[in-house]
């Protein structure tokens, strides 16, 4: 399988990465090279094989549904590019 310019533009949109036409032109053959290479996996017969989900067997631990920290608003906001009135502030969402 190979990707077209249009597909790559769509992926960039899904990935939320702005991309110039120039960069797109450069990336399409690169992605196709990588995709050609991973096509190798098509050779492997995986009929009846379960996909690996946990690399080392482990049980999922659940904890009590209780607040274990909190009261750290200022810490959480300390790295915000823009914070106002104790909230993260972002550009307008609804036009």
């Amino acid at each position: 399988m190979s990707v077209t310019n249009e597909q790559v533009r769509h992926i960039a949109k899904l990935a939320r990465i702005a991309m110039s036409d120039e960069e797109l032109e450069r990336l399409v053959p690169e992605l196709n090279n990588i995709l050609d290479w991973v096509e190798l996996l098509g050779e492997v017969n995986t009929d009846g094989i379960e996909p690996l989900t946990a690399v080392v067997p482990n049980t999922l631990r659940l904890r009590e549904d209780k607040v274990t920290d909190g009261n750290c608003r200022d810490d959480v906001l300390a790295n915000a590019p823009v914070a106002e009135h104790g909230f993260f502030a972002v550009p307008k969402v609804i036009e």
């Binding site: 399988m1 990707v3 597909q7 790559v8 992926i11 960039a12 949109k13 899904l14 990935a15 939320r16 990465i17 702005a18 991309m19 990336l27 690169e30 992605l31 090279n33 990588i34 995709l35 290479w37 991973v38 096509e39 190798l40 996996l41 098509g42 050779e43 492997v44 995986t46 094989i49 379960e50 996909p51 690996l52 989900t53 946990a54 690399v55 080392v56 482990n58 999922l60 631990r61 904890r63 750290c72 810490d75 959480v76 300390a78 790295n79 915000a80 590019p81 823009v82 993260f88 972002v90 550009p91 307008k92 969402v93 036009e95």
Partner: protein, 493 residues
């Protein structure tokens, strides 16, 4: 006062305890060494006060007789570990000036053991790279130089390139690394030091900037096998804050060290004899087999039939997980924010991520987004997860015939900066020997074995059964004792 930067962690620890020198003297010598080696670009942030404060605490504690395992030992910390109030950028522009209000579990464990911090170590951006060239801070330059290759700047390996260069150049006695597909072992091999990636789940990933969550694992990079054992003991341990952390006691790896391998069978996978690998590397591999035989082990040929599929599998799974993990960098809560004139929220996300991520990270996010997208998910991602099951099964079957696997660490010695940047696939091939163990979650270590004809270090790679770090370390020790690797880079920096 002699030059303490030549000493191992074990020697620093023991010398400090017996009163040969103080922790402050160690920290001062290292702080001076760090400041005089900026040409290597190994540190992104220097924290000499932190090293001195921990040293003074250790000196004070020595009087009271209550010393942690790493009391008096300052360390370099890969910039992927969150360190409270100290810049943590993962080598990326998008996290420039990020100062976490929390400390990663691994570094908290090291601090609890008494270690100080010399600074944060440069790395490939988000740990994506094998040469340290993807860092937003520019590449680390290896302290090593080719014997007759002029003064070409060489790659220290990646992604833990700052860590490997710092230990090799003696501007840290040891350092933390992280390994997703070889990022501890390949740089260790390139710079003539030791590094071990433990079993997935041994070290908490809490507070380590995520790349590929099912693969990422922290480990030590140090001068000797013993130092790796000491440091890994301090780093590892159950952490309720990481749901993938294993709820198991940490073995006393240092106390268990023994290079007597009687009764052990060493698997030599025939699929790792691949074309195009320099003769030096295969010759060292043969020597490694003889060293382990000399230590009492019996070499046996094994087969890992899915070896050639490991890299393509990795380059589906790791980008897929990365594309999901890196979705959090959007300019809202931390890091860079770029808002185009009059732009809305979506425009802010797209512009922030375009400006904040470097080319390799954008490339991998794109691949990851593609292989997870509707219509391609089964063909790529599910397929890769199935092949991953087969790769893991290969190892399980091999370990019925052997106790440990020996291979080369990397298919070449250190290459020149810029040599492989034009072709992503050729760069990815660097991890051909390291990736399979990562996909299977197994403990694996690189130990220096010798030099190539250019005088550059080459590593031997040991892969153990799940949770069997001890056998890996023991075989590493056996190789270390026999290889007699004492070469050091000539100081030019």
């Amino acid at each position: 006062m002699s030059d303490l930067t030549y000493l191992t962690i074990a020697q620093l620890r023991d010398g400090f305890r017996s009163g040969e020198f103080t922790a402050r003297e160690i920290a001062e010598q290292y702080n001076a060494a760090v400041a005089s080696a900026r040409a290597l670009n190994a540190y992104t942030v220097e924290t000499p006060e932190d090293a001195l404060a921990a040293a003074d605490a250790a000196d004070k504690a020595r009087g009271n007789g209550e010393l942690g395992a790493l009391a008096g030992v300052p360390l370099g910390i890969k910039d992927l570990f969150a360190t409270r109030s100290v810049d943590t950028t993962a080598g990326s522009r998008i996290l420039k000036d990020f100062r976490p209000p929390y400390e990663s579990t691994v570094t908290a464990n090291l601090r609890r053991a008494g270690a100080g911090m010399l600074g944060k170590l440069n790395m490939d951006e988000f740990a994506m790279g094998s040469s340290n060239e993807t860092s937003a801070y520019g590449p680390v330059i290896s302290p090593w130089r080719r014997k007759d290759g002029g003064n070409a700047a060489l790659a220290p390996g990646g992604s833990s390139g700052g860590s490997s260069a710092a230990v090799a150049a003696r501007i840290a006695p040891a350092a933390t690394g992280t390994d997703t597909g070889g990022s501890i072992r390949q740089p260790a091999a390139f710079t003539g030091i030791c590094g071990i990636k433990p079993t997935y789940g041994r070290c908490s990933r809490w507070g380590i900037v995520s790349f590929a969550s099912s693969l990422d694992q922290a480990g030590p990079m140090a001068k000797t096998v013993r130092d790796c054992a000491i440091m890994l003991e301090a780093m590892a341990g159950f952490d309720p804050k990481d749901s993938t952390s294993l709820d198991l006691p940490v073995p006393a790896w240092e106390a268990g060290l023994s290079s007597d391998l009687k009764g052990k069978r060493i698997g030599i996978p025939k699929e790792y004899r691949i074309e195009g690998v320099p003769g030096d590397i295969n010759a060292l591999w043969d020597k490694g087999i003889e060293w382990l035989r000399d230590a009492g082990a019996e070499p046996v040929e094994i087969s890992l039939p899915h070896t050639k599929y490991a890299l393509p599998t990795y380059y589906i799974i790791a980008p897929a997980e990365a594309s999901s993990n890196l979705a959090r960098y959007d300019g809202v809560r931390y890091g860079l924010r770029v808002v185009p004139e009059g732009g809305n929220l979506d425009a802010m996300y797209a512009a922030t991520r375009a400006a904040g991520f470097g080319a390799e990270v954008r490339r991998r996010i794109m691949i990851g987004t593609y292989v997870l997208s509707a219509g391609f998910y089964d063909a790529y991602f599910t397929k890769a997860q199935k092949v991953r099951s087969l790769i893991k099964r290969d190892f399980e079957q091999a370990f019925e015939a052997c106790d440990l696997i020996l291979t080369p660490t990397a298919p070449s010695a250190a290459f020149g900066l810029g040599d492989k940047t034009a072709d992503p696939v050729s760069m990815y091939l660097n991890d051909v020997f390291a990736v399979p163990a990562s996909l299977a979650g197994l403990p694996a270590m690189s130990v220096p074995g010798g030099l190539d004809e250019q005088g550059l270090p080459l590593g031997l790679h040991l892969i153990g059964r799940e949770l069997d770090e001890q056998v890996v370390l023991n075989a590493g020790l056996a190789i270390e004792e026999r290889a007699g690797f004492t070469a050091k880079p000539q100081r030019w920096w």
